[in-house]
Symmetry: C2
Subunit: 151 residues, 2 copies
DNA sequence: GCAGACTCTATAGCTTCTGGAGATATAGGG
DNA sequence: CCCTATATCTCCAGAAGCTATAGAGTCTGC
């Protein structure tokens, strides 16, 4: 009997979606931007995917979950296809991304403090006595001087 | 002599930009989406801003820096215009935002660990021995089961 | 009165998808 | 063979929050 899991040699796009966790329009989008190769088509013009497609898509999905950009992923995919190449580049991408993530954490922490401070400053029942609005209006009432952009 | 700082009663858009830290196209964009009111125009059809515009724009800018969405800011601006209204709502917006920020910090921390783990796993000189690609290919090699979406 | 800086409008692009419209394909049951 | 329900097809628009460009007009200082 034919296998019921991802072991099926041919998948529709819906199946690929279920197996990979990517939504159907997202898969078509990835194909459109050249991140996924164009699959074969059935007689009725429907996409037919193989396990190789699934693997690639899972790689993409996983990398996206880890916050890599599509451009990063494009590069990582190229690297993955050349096992003999030096891995410095892949490593560099990962490390750069790690720096980015740490940076974002730092900035978000500052923000967290600022917001805690703000929320703690609400003193009266009306907007007039509420510091939230006031602090937003006047940067000088902030804990820190500058808020770096979040992204 | 006419004042040289923001005390000028009338500003061009470039001046408003410099005083607020918002770029010129951003200011026009805010006007377009109704976040900033349409200012008077000079005879030559150029926008003329008052200090009230500057205050509003600074409020917006500061809130953006703190990560509030434009929709949040719209609401906060409305609230700010009604000092007699109860401040619960402003407070609620700030607290909701605080929760959001904390959530993002948590998720980014997990990511950080994952990436550290990954980077530490690079063992060989070629992609073949580099775990970065391998881990990306195979979710099972991850520290955690699921990576929640970052946003 | 002219160079150069600034501003105007309108429109398109960025990133990473997501959703809808309207048409076709396929699978399962009678 | 037909019917229906679901899945798929293409194409296009929209989301958030800007940013950039083109081509024209305006203002300022010397």
């Amino acid at each position: 009997m034919p296998p019921r899991s991802a072991a099926a040699t041919v998948m529709t796009i819906g199946r690929l979606s279920a197996e990979s966790g990517c939504k159907v329009p997202t898969i078509r989008y990835y194909e459109q931007i050249g991140l996924m190769p164009e699959p074969d088509r059935s007689e009725g013009n429907q996409r037919q995917y193989s396990r190789r497609h699934l693997e690639r898509l899972r790689f993409i999905r996983h990398s996206r979950d880890l916050g890599f950009t599509l451009d990063d992923i494009r590069e990582l995919l190229t690297l993955a296809a050349h096992p003999e190449a030096p891995c410095e580049e892949a490593d560099a991408i990962a490390r750069r991304h790690l720096r980015l993530v740490r940076d974002r954490i730092d900035r978000l922490r500052k923000l967290e403090q600022e917001l805690e401070h703000m929320a703690a400053c609400c003193h009266g029942p009306t907007v007039r006595d509420c510091r939230v609005i006031e602090i937003l209006s006047d940067h000088g009432k902030c804990l820190s001087d500058g808020h770096p952009p979040l992204d």
